[in-house]
Symmetry: C2
Subunit: 232 residues, 2 copies
Amino acid sequence: MGYQALASAFRGKVEGGLWRISEAIPSEASLAKEYGVAVGTIRQAIALLADDGVLIKRHGKSTVVSSGLHGQSMLRFFRYQLDGQEQLIPQAKVLDFKEVSLDKEIGKLTGWACKSLMRIHRLRFIDGRPVLYETIYLPLPKFKKLIDYKPKDFEDLFYPMYAKVCGVAVIKAKDQVGFELMKKVDAKALLMKEGHPAVRVNRIAFDLSGKPVEYRSSVGDAMAFQYSAEVN
Amino acid sequence: MGYQALASAFRGKVEGGLWRISEAIPSEASLAKEYGVAVGTIRQAIALLADDGVLIKRHGKSTVVSSGLHGQSMLRFFRYQLDGQEQLIPQAKVLDFKEVSLDKEIGKLTGWACKSLMRIHRLRFIDGRPVLYETIYLPLPKFKKLIDYKPKDFEDLFYPMYAKVCGVAVIKAKDQVGFELMKKVDAKALLMKEGHPAVRVNRIAFDLSGKPVEYRSSVGDAMAFQYSAEVN
DNA sequence: CAGTGGTCTAGACCACCGC
DNA sequence: CGGTGGTCTAGACCACTGG
């Protein structure tokens, strides 16, 4: 039982729901006793999961299972201060949503095997201006609690909502950024002209166990797009 | 002398050139003896620098000082296989270079205080087609060995060349991606039309001590742009 | 084989948090 | 104050690399 095997065991606890989102895990000392290893070994195992974002450590307090990402990780792609504004008020509005059958392309990208998805259309605003038009797909057994929602019930930030309502913590995502000319529907939603330069971001989001739990495609004005990345 | 203080001390060794690029540092055991601490403490300090990319550890061999990034980290922004090609032959060609005085804007971005820079214009090709037009700025006391070069002397990959010729290891970079309409000079270099949608990537590259050592601005066809990123 | 880093132990003491 | 994670020790033994 090396520390990597212990890390796998702990992953299992999280995936199996024995260690629940936002809740504390046992102390390092008690885990060491339970597994019959030294505390240092437990610490190494926990460090692995903490690096992955699965567990959150805070000195003096218990280690807890992550409830996922919070920041407006999508809007970070766009320049906000178009008019020298300093304060920005990001908002979101769900336009419509319905149950749809699994799209073949999305199934291939995500590996989902479910029959139907929930599809949500949503606009995001900055200072009252629409800047991003999103189409979000959620696999349906898992997110069934959302199908009784009304558009107004959806919160501005989806990931914390997933955690609260559906017990799904998004801790990682893969984005694909590409350039295109704006299509009619996208242009209409964003109050722009068809054929205007556009950026499309396709995102697959992953939960605590590394399984894809959301597919999202977002379109915005390419001329307002600005992305920063670190390379290591 | 905690492990963080030790890490600082080790950073100093690297920055001061006492531990040189690509060379082995003393073993953990000998460092422990030298500093009068336990091996575990040395290991923690070294782990910090290894996470930063400053040191490279390999089981069974000595820990060495990093010589920097290698991959074509710039071309990763573009789709290569335009025609179902599988093998791609990236090439580069330096068009011209000269000593110029420090641009105010670049000085602000990089914090450079030198008087003059070396400016290099460079084209990058895939399958013989120009895809990227780069303008590279290097602070001049540090890179003076390059001013006697002829355009043909420059290697395809600049970062390994910096390490070999100037003793500068690039281990980190910050990229800023934005869209614009192609300017005349850029269009001409890339054999495209002025006003065509373009992507511009501005990069600041950092050496082992975290100081900016290169500023680079690259332009390419927006329609061929595709970027993948992980969000954590 | 000698030398390196990787894993693990069983303790000690420190630093932080909240009651 | 008690409980948590953070740092450190001084060893033991394992696993990998290269001559």
